[in-house]
């Protein structure tokens, strides 16, 4: 294809997006659009898969059957979300195996928040409330992103996500209405998860390298700072109802802007965790790799069985 032809195709492509038309898998797309989508969608899928690990830690120790079935269902949803997203990603011509390889080799990233440990039951409450809360804010705008398979997967994910946040908040509420010790446990969890949850919304706008292009492709509909402010504004009143406070001495309501002002985020910590120095990076990846390698014989056996059955069918037919 000549340079002029590509230019022409690019123009048609950009116009389509401007008109809010969706891009579907077999449509022509710029290579950069394809690559950016593979990167973002697979990171998202990896986050769902690794995200099962901190919570899985508490399934056997949930304090009641009601809590246990809810947590099981939530973790199962996360597996499902990972699978929707991997298959949406595969429509761009990358194989599932490549995607797993990228995760297992440490080449691909996943959300940093899952590199923090879940040391008490209250952490399960805080994750549902804050981590799923921040995820919803990130994800709702993606339901109208330009790539069709991603947008459709996100509609399903968002529908299922709201139970996750509610079950987390209910755990926090129960603890906060319990004994003084239980309330302390909830406060401690909030202290540890608040800042990492704010970091989940991504680097500040002036430090975010992908924002401009992603906004243009509707892969992003609001900037990181806008999303973070929205998250803070809606979460503080929820903390008030619980009767616990976020660990930020600078947080205060600003009558003029109609938003909460908040303190400086420790971005050094964020980049440390992204680069692999978080408290659980090594453990998470090891667990994931072990699960994959330990399950290899099961996958091989299933494949061998399927081939044998198929051969039998052919033999019968001939």
């Amino acid at each position: 294809m000549s340079e002029k032809e590509v230019k022409n195709l690019e123009e048609i492509f950009e116009q389509k997006i401007a008109r809010d038309e969706k891009i579907e898998p077999k449509d022509w797309m710029p290579e950069k659009y394809r690559k950016t989508h593979i990167r973002q969608m697979s990171q998202h899928a990896h986050s769902e898969i690794v995200g099962m690990l901190p919570e899985g830690n508490w399934i056997t120790r949930a304090p009641s059957l009601r809590r246990k079935v809810a947590l099981l269902a939530k973790v199962q949803d996360e597996a499902g979300h990972g699978l929707y997203l991997y298959s949406a990603c595969e429509t761009l011509g990358v194989s599932r195996e490549e995607l797993y390889d990228q995760l297992h080799s440490g080449k691909a990233k996943y959300s940093s928040i899952f590199n923090y440990p879940t040391i008490t039951w209250a952490d399960i409450g805080a994750i549902g409330w804050l981590v799923d809360g921040a995820a919803i804010i990130n994800q709702v705008p993606l339901c109208s992103t330009s790539y069709g398979p991603y947008a459709r997967a996100m509609v399903r994910v968002c529908k299922e996500e709201s139970f996750h946040q509610r079950q987390g908040y209910e755990i926090m509420l129960t603890l906060c209405r319990g004994t003084e010790e239980q309330k302390q446990m909830a406060q401690d969890a909030l202290n540890r998860w608040w800042w990492p949850a704010l970091m989940m919304l991504g680097p500040t706008d002036d430090a975010s390298v992908h924002t401009a292009q992603s906004m243009k492709w509707k892969l992003k509909r609001k900037t990181n700072d806008e999303l973070r402010q929205q998250f803070i504004d809606q979460t503080i009143p929820q903390a008030d109802i619980l009767g616990i406070t976020v660990p930020d001495p600078d947080l205060k309501w600003n009558e003029e802007t109609g938003h909460y002002d908040f303190g400086e985020i420790n971005w050094d910590e964020f980049w440390q965790v992204v680069k692999g120095q978080g408290p659980c990076n090594k453990e998470r990846l090891e667990t994931r790799v072990n699960a994959w390698e330990g399950g290899a014989w099961v996958r091989d056996a299933a494949m061998a069985y399927a081939e044998k059955q198929a051969a039998k069918k052919v033999q019968k037919a001939s």
Partner: protein, 97 residues
Amino acid sequence: MADKKKNWPLWEVFVRSKNGLEHRHFGSLHAADEDMALENARDVYTRRKEGVSIWVVESKHIKASNPDENGEMFEPAEDKVYRHPTFYDLPDEVKHM
């Protein structure tokens, strides 16, 4: 095992949400065979009673039209407005038509 790793093939999943509606494409998944594809489809796509019937078909069996050829494929219908009822001029007095 042979030296080349064999991966589970890709399947497309279609779900009928309730009787009276058609099966609609819901997404895809990997499975070793058709029975496993059906079971996985139930677990991945119908955890909240989203369906009453599931079809799975191995993705390689689907022949899809090519959007680059959408012109040849779909434009012939464009100049055939006479296939639509509004093409025909009738006086307003004519009712039930």
